[in-house]
Symmetry: C2
DNA sequence: GCAAAACCGACCGCTTCGGTAGGATTTCGT
DNA sequence: ACGAAATCCTACCGAAGCGGTCGGTTTTGC
């Protein structure tokens, strides 16, 4: 598995928040019931999302969580990274602050790491897929069941979009 | 991390075999020394590659391993899959024998899994990167250090190819 | 027969995963 | 003022995988 259920649960959580159009906060409890996920576990996940400033919280009775930004501006690379940590295909891979990709094997020496080509391509593939998908898209995609034949076919087509 | 060092070590092993042009088998010991990896651990990895029919072995003195096919015909999706197991972004994802992608959440019901769009895109990104890279490419890319400026620039360019 | 090699299975310390538990704190409604 | 509802925080726990080691068996060339 590329990702653990942390990403899965966390993305579902974000989608659930994205469904709520108004500014009223959504309680974790209602999310847990809607998605049938353990509340206590969601608490851990939402904490990461909050630290990454993807959601905001209001405490106390009738409190809950809201998206920190409009769903159109939230891309999945930020969400998954908040939940799973740095996204890299391999242990030796890390991004410099400037965005360059480095492999710890190819230090000072001249000979490049033999596997770098492969992992760079994988990295590109994943980040393009994640950064190219917005929360708004997922909310729209999983909209309530008003599916005419045309809608179903449109959905089948959009999967391959990027 | 998307992948563990099993993929890293295994790919390096394959590259090492790919470097040997002749049909003489390469002993694991020489691979371990060349790549500075623990021999006993490589034994486990090469066993998976053998079961996947990516390498062949000859036992006894002066034995070792060879590629089962020419390096041009070995794509990295087969190698990584042999080492890491089924490649799927999420637990609930599995491919049917016909190649269709299924999510175990969306059984009989009508409402599609809300995260399917995302994971399908990720899956596509990864498999395209892996299947689009051959062992021959990696062997070529990490060729001995005859690097003129032109070669270095050519290598920098090919990373973004796909 | 000896040495070199592939094979095989058991074991081990460590970290992560998925989840639970118990409590502390904040806030709204009455 | 009080209690319910909610976020917040920390600790813990069993299971599984990771990265590796070890000891031994079998095959084969010289």
């Amino acid at each position: 598995m590329l990702f653990s259920t942390k990403a899965e649960y966390g993305v579902r959580l974000m989608i659930e928040l994205g469904r709520q159009p108004g500014s009223t906060p959504v309680s974790l409890n209602s999310v847990a019931e809607a998605e049938r996920l353990p509340l206590s576990y969601l608490e851990h996940l939402v904490a990461k999302l909050r630290k990454a400033e993807l959601v905001t919280s209001t405490r106390g009775a009738h409190g809950g969580y809201r998206l920190a930004k409009p769903a159109e501006e939230i891309t999945m690379d930020a969400v998954v990274q908040a939940l799973e940590g740095q996204i890299a295909p391999m242990e030796c891979f890390h991004e410099t602050p400037e965005g360059r990709v480095l492999c710890s094997h190819e230090g000072d020496g001249d000979r490049a790491c033999s596997t770098k080509l492969l992992w760079t391509r994988v990295q590109n593939g994943v980040t393009k897929a994640l950064a190219g998908t917005t929360l708004a898209e997922l909310v729209e995609f999983s909209a309530p069941q008003g599916h005419s034949d045309a809608q179903v076919r449109a959905k089948a087509a959009v999967v391959h979009t990027l």
